[in-house]
C-alpha cells in the first residue's frame, strides 16, 4: 500500500510543453504514472507524448477526470498555477518549481486553509510510490517497493538516504519530498500522520534540515501520536547563523532558532534516533524492521 498516490492517480502536468515539463512528463509516464493531460494556456488542442493538452486545469480535470497535478511552471507564474489547480479543484497538487516568491506562497497558504486540496512543495522533488507512480522529478530507479515511509525537505539528500536503504534491500511505501522553502503545503506532521495511518508503513525516515521549527514540532507530534518508529537525519550541523544554505528555508536565524542541534535534541527527546550519516539512518531503520 501507499499514501496519496498510486497507479490509479490521474495526473495533469502543468507546463507540459516546457522543456522540464515535457522531459519529466515522459519520465513519469515511463515509470508508469497515469499522466492523463497537460495544461498550458494557449496550447490547448496540442498533444505531448500522446497526452492531450488543455488551456486550463479546470478543462483538463473535467475532460480527463484528473485528480492530481504536477507543476513545472516558471517561478513568476507558478503561484498562479497552484491557485488554478487548487480551485479546479484537484485532490493533490505537487509543485516542483523552485524560486516562487515567498509572498505568493503566503497567499497560496491562505487558500490552502480554505480548500481540501493537498499541496506538496514547492521547491520539492515530488512524491513516489515505488512501482506505482511518481509525481515529480525523483529518479525512479533508486526506489523499491517496501515497508518504509520517507519524508524529506531535501531532494538529492532523499536520494542518498533511499540509496542507503534500497542497497540493503529495504524498500519504501511512499517517499514524499516536502520541499526546502520557508512556506510549504504538506509539512512533516502532515506526512507523518499519513504514514502512521498507513498499515503497510512499518517505519519512517524523516530528513530535516536547519531553519524554521518544523522538525521540533514534528518531534512533539511523534512523541504524542505515533506508534510507527521514526528515524531522523538533520542536515546543516555546520551551517553558520544568518547564511542561507541553498534552500530558501535553510537558514539559522540570528537569534539562534532553527539550529540542527535544537532539532536533533527535540527528535532524540521524542525517542527518534538521529543518524550522524545517511548510512546510520539506514542502520536505525534496519533495527526497527
Amino acid at each position: 500500500m501507499s499514501v496519496l498516490v498510486d497507479s490509479d492517480t490521474r495526473v495533469v502536468v502543468q507546463g507540459i510543453t516546457g522543456g522540464e515539463g515535457k522531459f519529466h512528463a515522459e519520465q513519469m509516464m515511463d515509470y508508469g504514472t497515469n499522466v492523463v493531460a497537460g495544461a498550458v494556456p494557449g496550447k490547448g488542442g496540442q498533444e505531448v507524448n500522446g497526452v492531450p493538452v488543455y488551456d486550463t486545469v479546470h478543462e483538463a480535470a473535467r475532460e480527463e477526470d484528473a485528480d492530481a497535478s504536477v507543476v513545472f511552471v516558471p517561478p513568476a507564474f507558478a503561484g498562479d498555477a497552484v491557485f488554478e489547480a487548487l480551485d479546479a479543484p484537484l485532490d493533490l497538487v505537487v509543485a516542483i518549481t523552485e524560486g516562487i516568491p515567498t509572498q505568493d506562497m503566503a497567499k497560496v497558504n491562505k487558500r490552502l486553509s480554505e480548500v481540501d486540496t493537498r499541496l506538496i512543495g514547492p521547491n520539492c522533488p515530488g512524491i513516489i510510490t515505488p512501482g506505482e507512480a511518481k509525481l515529480g522529478i525523483l529518479p525512479g530507479n533508486i526506489f523499491e517497493s517496501g515497508d518504509v515511509g520517507l519524508v524529506s525537505r531535501s531532494g538529492t539528500l532523499t536520494y542518498q538516504v533511499v540509496d542507503n536503504l534500497t542497497s540493503r534491500g529495504i524498500g519504501q511505501t511512499t517517499a514524499i519530498g516536502i520541499g526546502g522553502d520557508p512556506i510549504i503545503g504538506t509539512d512533516f506532521i502532515d506526512a507523518l500522520e499519513l504514514f502512521e495511518a498507513d498499515p503497510d508503513t512499518k517505519a519512517v525516515v524523516m530528513c530535516g534540515e536547519i531553519g524554521g521549527e518544523d522538525e521540533e514540532e514534528a518531534a512533539r507530534y511523534i512523541a504524542e501520536n505515533m506508534d510507527t518508529p521514526v528515524a531522523g537525519f538533520i542536515a546543516g550541523r555546520t551551517a553558520p547563523p544568518g547564511k542561507r544554505m541553498g534552500h530558501a528555508g535553510a537558514i539559522v536565524s540570528g537569534s539562534g532558532t532553527g539550529t540542527a542541534e535544537s532539532k536533533i535534541n527535540a527528535l532524540n527527546d521524542a525517542g527518534v534516533p538521529v543518524g550522524d550519516t545517511p548510512n546510520e539512518v539506514a542502520d536505525h531503520i534496519e533495527d526497527f524492521l
Binding site: P75, A76, G99, P101, T102, Q103, M105, A106, K107, N109, K110, R111, P125, I137, L138, P139, N141, I142, S152, R153, S154, G155, T156, L157, T158, Y159, Q160, D163, G180, P182, I183, C207, E209, G211, G212, E213, D214, F233, A235, G236, R237, T238, A239, P240, K243, R244, M245, G246, H247, A248, G249, A250, S253, G254, S255, A260, D276, T277, P278, N279
Partner: protein, 381 residues
C-alpha cells in the same frame, strides 16, 4: 537582497515615513560638507551590511567640524567585520526621549506576515524577544486581505505606545506593511523609531530586505543592488548562478542539491575536516557549470582539497564526469586534489569515464569525504 540603510531610508521617506536629514558621503571632505550643511550634532554611519555597526566602531557622533572630520577618517576605509567601508551616511542626530521598534517580517511557522511593535526600541529586538517576549506586540496579517487599519492600531495599543503617539505610529506601521507587500520584502524594520521631546516620531535606522526570488518584479529595487560591497567569491557565485556560502575551513565542497551539500559539509566536519564553502550547482548541471564550480573552489586560496559529490536525479553522472574531465584537462597541473563521488542516474557510466589520473574516484559518500579530509590534512602541512 538587503538594502543599505540609506537606500531603505529613501524608500521609507518616499512612502511618507519621517526620516532624519541625511547625505551620503564617500570622502572626508564630503562628510564635513554634509555635516556643515545639516548642522551639528551629526551621526556618521558606515553603510555596510553588518549588524552591530555601533559597537564595532562603524557609527560615530560628531558635535563639531573637527569631530566630523575625525569620525570620517576613522570610518571611511575601515574594515568592519570583513566588509570594507566605502561610504557613510551623514545624518542629523535627533534628540529623543524614547525609542520604539516597528517591523514586519514573515512568520514561517504561521506562513503569514507578522507586524511587530515594541516600546523597547534601540536594542537588538531578538534579545528583547528572548528576555521579555511580552514587550513585543505581534499582529499576524492575512496576506489576502493585507493589514486592516485596526490591526495597526491594535499592535500599537497592545505594545503600550502612549496614546498621543498611537495614531502616528500606527500610520507608520501601516505604511511599512504596504511597503513589505508592494516591494516583496522579507523584512522591514525601524529600530529605533525615535520619539522626540515634541512627540514627533522619526526613523533613526531602517532595514529593508527583499525576497531574492521576487527581484524579477522589483526592478527599481533590484537596480539598487551594489555588487562592490560583496565578497569577491560570493559575487562570482552570483555570476555563475550558484548557491554559494564561504566558510572558514580548507575543504572545498561541490555538490548538487542543498540538503546533500549541507550533509557533505557535516560529514567533512564529522570526519575531522573543516568545510571551506557550501556550493550547490543545482539540478541538471551540464559540463560548463561543472567547470565553473571547480573554478570557484580553486579560486579560494584557503581550499586545500575538494570533494565533488553528485547524486544524479535529473543530473546525469556521465555528463558530470565529462565536465570534470574537460575542466581538469585544461590544467597542466591540478591545483588541488579532487575527490569525486558519483551516484544515481548514469553513475556507473560516469565513474567509468572519469579520468583517474586527474581525480580520485570513490563510490560512497563516506569514503569520498574521508579521503578528501585526508588530502586536506596532507596539503595543509
Amino acid at each position: 537582497m538587503r538594502l543599505h540603510e540609506y537606500q531603505a531610508k529613501s524608500v521609507f521617506a518616499d512612502a511618507g515615513i519621517p526620516t532624519p536629514d541625511a547625505t551620503l558621503a564617500s570622502s572626508v571632505e564630503e562628510v564635513v560638507e554634509a555635516a556643515e550643511e545639516i548642522g551639528y550634532p551629526v551621526a556618521v554611519k558606515a553603510q555596510v551590511h553588518v549588524g552591530g555597526r555601533g559597537k564595532a566602531g562603524g557609527i560615530k557622533l560628531a558635535e563639531s567640524r573637527d569631530e566630523a572630520e575625525e569620525a570620517a577618517e576613522s570610518i571611511i576605509g575601515m574594515d568592519l567585520k570583513g566588509y570594507h567601508v566605502d561610504r557613510v551616511l551623514v545624518e542629523e542626530a535627533v534628540d529623543f526621549k524614547n525609542e520604539l521598534y516597528v517591523g514586519v517580517t514573515m512568520d514561517r511557522g504561521e506562513g503569514k506576515p507578522v507586524a511587530m511593535v515594541s516600546t523597547k526600541g534601540g536594542v537588538n529586538i531578538e534579545e528583547v524577544a528572548e528576555e521579555d517576549p511580552d514587550a513585543i506586540a505581534r499582529e499576524h496579517i492575512d496576506p489576502a486581505f493585507g493589514m486592516h487599519p485596526y490591526q495597526a492600531r491594535k499592535a500599537v495599543y497592545d505594545a503600550g505606545v502612549p496614546r498621543e503617539l498611537a495614531r502616528d505610529v500606527a500610520s507608520v506601521l501601516q505604511t511599512m506593511y504596504q511597503l513589505w507587500d508592494d516591494r516583496d520584502a522579507s523584512e522591514v524594520e525601524i529600530n529605533p523609531l525615535m520619539v522626540t521631546e515634541d512627540d514627533e516620531i522619526i526613523a533613526a535606522d531602517a532595514v529593508m530586505n527583499i525576497d531574492d526570488d521576487a527581484l524579477f518584479r522589483q526592478q527599481e529595487l533590484a537596480e539598487m543592488e551594489e555588487e562592490t560591497f560583496e565578497d569577491d567569491l560570493e559575487r562570482k557565485a552570483g555570476e555563475y548562478g550558484f548557491d554559494y556560502v564561504r566558510l572558514s575551513g580548507n575543504v572545498g565542497i561541490i555538490g548538487n542539491g542543498a540538503g546533500l551539500v549541507m550533509t557533505t559539509l557535516d560529514l567533512v566536519d564529522y570526519y575531522g575536516g573543516e568545510p571551506a564553502n557550501f556550493l550547490d550547482i543545482g539540478g541538471g548541471a551540464k559540463a560548463e557549470r561543472v567547470a565553473n564550480a571547480l573554478d570557484m573552489v580553486f579560486s579560494d586560496e584557503n581550499v586545500d582539497a575538494v570533494v565533488f559529490n553528485i547524486f544524479g536525479g535529473i543530473t546525469r553522472g556521465d555528463e558530470v564526469a565529462k565536465g570534470i574531465n574537460n575542466a581538469l584537462e585544461q590544467f597542466d597541473e591540478i591545483p588541488k586534489p579532487v575527490v569525486v563521488r558519483l551516484a544515481g542516474t548514469n553513475a556507473e557510466e560516469g565513474r567509468e569515464i572519469l579520468n583517474d589520473e586527474l581525480v580520485t574516484v570513490e563510490e560512497t559518500l563516506e569514503d569520498a569525504v574521508q579521503r578528501t579530509v585526508e588530502y586536506s590534512e596532507e596539503e595543509a602541512q
